[in-house]
Amino acid sequence: MEAEEGKAEFEASEIEYVSYGGEHHLPLIMKLVDQELSEPYSIFTYRYFVYLWPHLSFLAFHKGKCVGTVVCKMGDHRHTFRGYIAMLVVLNPYRGRGIATELVSRSIQVMMESGCEEVTLEAEVTNKGALALYGRLGFIRAKRLFRYYLNGLPSAEAVVSRPEPNYSASGLATGDEAEGLDEGINSVLT
């Protein structure tokens, strides 16, 4: 099944993308995220996202096996309706074939249709693959957050994108952030 260098052999057309369909998808998402991401999440964290924004979460299947997932949310953030990509995972043997791009693009598409003015996320600075992927989609690296992740990595970057083509400057943040607080931490959901 898997070729040399641990990569899976498959045609892009064999990957099936499914929107979150219910509780039966939850263990699949949890397993993938638990396996691949450094941050610890309880079942309630997953539920928060997939119960409230089921249409923003997608799963990628290859021959019945869940090989990737994206979990998102959206809501008002300082007078801006903002989408947020909380978790994105593709199993290692399936990486580099556009699955993550497709998953994220689908979520962003729904966010745009729902009226999101911008989309944000955080990624570890050392995760060059993820940073490149988001860069290709049009995300900018807006700021670096020092010691943001629990795994002790020194820093992380938050990236912001505004998918709305007719972006209006009136929707900008008003600068009412709490003094001395890390705004990146403030926007964290876990």
């Binding site: 610890p40 309880s42 079942i43 309630f44 964290t45 539920r47 928060y48 119960y51 409230l52 693009s105 962003i108 745009m112 989309v119 600075v125 860069g135 290709r136 989609l137 049009g138 995300f139 900018i140 690296r141 807006a142 700021k143 670096r144 957050l145 020092f146 010691r147 629990l150 795994n151 002790g152 020194p154 820093s155 970057e157 912001v160 994108s161 505004r162 998918p163 083509p165 972006y167 400057a169 900008l172 600068g175 952030e177 001395g180 890390d182 705004e183 959901l189 876990t190």
Partner: protein, 833 residues
Amino acid sequence: MADKSEAERGEDAKVAISPSIPFGNDTVWADVSSLFRLACNVRPEVTIKGTSIMIVKGGDERDCAIIHIAWIMEISERFSASMFLVSIPSPSFKTHSSTFRNAVTLMFFLITYKTTAKNIHCCNLATDLRTDELISGENFNLFAAMSALEIMDPKMDSGIVSTYYSVDEAIDSGAAPIPLSFDGTVDIQRVIDIMDHLLACEATWHKGGSLAQTVFSCIYLLRPERTSSHALLHSFCRVIRTTCNTVVSAVSDARTNEEEDLFTMAYGLPLKVDGDDKCLSILHAVEETISRQLKACKAPLSKRKVLEDVEPLQTNLDLEEGFCKAVLCRLRFRKHLYHVVTCMRRPQGKGLELAKKHIISCLCELDSMLKSAEFLRDHCACGTLEDGVEDKTTASGCQPIGFDSTLNSRSAAPTPPRAIKLLSWTKAVNYFQKLLHDLDIICSYSLDPVFEGALRFVVDFQKFQPDLVARAYIQLLLVQEGKLYGREPMFAVICRAALLPEGAKNHDVQKNETVGQLGQLLISLLRVLCTNTAWQRRKLGKILQDWRIIYVQSVAGIAGIAGIAGLILWVLELAFRKEFGDITNTSTDQNLCLKICKHILIWVEEQTYWIALRFLVLGFELELYSTSEYCMVYWYIYVILIKLAEKTHLKMMLSNDSSRRKSKKKRDFVKDMGKDYQIPPAVLLLQCYIYIAEGLMMMLASLRNENKIFLCLGPFNTEQERFIQHFELLQKACLPDHASYFSFRETTAHARFSTLSEYNCFKDAQRMAKELRGNFANDPERMAELRRIEQVAEHNCVALNLLCRLGTLEPSLKISFEFIHHPHFAVAAVKRS
């Protein structure tokens, strides 16, 4: 579920007023719903409603029951609203976690102690809920549930008990014996291992670990009284605690740890112990003894008689010298380090000279410590080492005794524990060498009374990427009691920065509110510049707005009186009238006041552009820009630099103007103006940057226009949107006026290599940088910067020529941008692929 049936009978189960939660190997935690129910019955006055406490029974993946508890602490001012949810495996699973015990303790506290609290919410303890089911309520929803901690999950549960339940239990189990061994040699070997491991812990703490999980993982430190019988260990523990305490207070006072909040968290740790303030005298006595022991063992046989009363450090006389030396350099390092951290806290930089001497001694002792490593490895207590010593936390390579990093985790906040990997001993020594070098730079600083000098000093210092502690000390030096270095009032600093004559600093205008605010802005700017660059950039972006507002406020007042800074004048005039009742004098003072305001306003603008520039260039250091965005970034740097040069020039001209007016007759002055005016070198240096930024911008624009590379593509974000996202803070503050995406497009849309070859900015930059050498001959930092500019210019000049000749002809050319000569100005690398 034994507890439940017992509790339901409601006879034997009692709710303790001062709750004591049983724990230990024989305790099995079970469903506690009955206890809560009972608690509610016992205290009918407690209103329990809603869903703050929730208990769910069921089987999880491991096939054992789990319990979730959640509550909101809203009962008094002491407890702000907060949600906590735990999930434990029970009853078949023994819970070895203090999180659960703490949870139950607190819950008992809520129910029994705060009987009058009206807003404790507690749900009916539904026993028929299925696994992982949630109750939703007014104060409890899916979002709140995310703060759940899964007990016994090492990724989440900071209270997990891995070895011991308590420090006392660890001590009872022999985890930290005193003496460390009855064999004198082994005892000293182990003490040295502890000293080394503590150094690794301390460095890891400085690098961002929590004090509880690093330095205070040492059981000997946690029970100060126990070490008193072991003079050496006791003195070492004391100086460690005192040093940590001094460093914690330095960092807390400086508040440079915004994103490193773990650093100062010392709750529940014995950081201040009676007698620790005398640590130096105790340390000194121990050092004396060991010095004598060293002397004794080195003395020739004939002299040994005199020293016979000296008892050796340990039992193996062949190793006496090696161990004495190893211990001595460690003790002396601690002594000098303590002096360094205390001397540097003396007001107005008065201890810097002395601190510098101690820094030299510290570095010297660190060298001795490194030298002692070979001896310690050869004579280590744990036998031959198979693995390398590179990642070991001791010089000997042995695992130290008396440490348990999990013991304190229960005192951490109820958040998931952070993974901490201790630095190796060698890396710890390297860390301290770096720290001491950084501190040495601070101690060598001349306390330049010119604000610009102070700014340059901090910015240059940040290039060495100093860690938190060094950054805290530079900030403590710069800002003390609201004054620069604790001695220069901010108004005097502003006057000097605005190139006003000396007398201006005593002018009453300093009592004006706006001027006071400006002083505050200056202090906060200095503080921000001392923080880590990630946070610094975000904060600089925000304070730009404040600087702009203060400028606009002052200018807005112009319309009122006298043409400039009307508000300030008005306040002043009132004050004068009141005081002297003489209106005729006011006009003279008005002139002086006008002059002060004019100078300050120009300087405020200059400073604002300086901050904007720093904000932009830090984006390179933090790798926030992608190559496709470099063109717009250099365009923005270019326009900001032009404004900065303009304001700096204006400020200098104004100052020259005033001084000339004073020294010369009017007609001479007019004559001079045309004859010998020279642009000041500071402005020319800015002009160099302008050329480089312009050159890079135009080269990138040509590559985009002709080669169709480095374009901002992507399905979701247009170039204009990226422009706004990157520069929104500058745009919001109108820095500069009329700078917009359209002006960027206008400048760059038609750039072509054919035009660039005719007008090569890099050549101008190179020429100017060379010419400027003579002006900065006495300033090594600026000379180095000029050299960097020359290198960038030279490199890009060649690249540009190549691109002009081949660019469009050879589409296979691979072009990339690198920061090999300068952190902010890239050079183009052109390769054939």
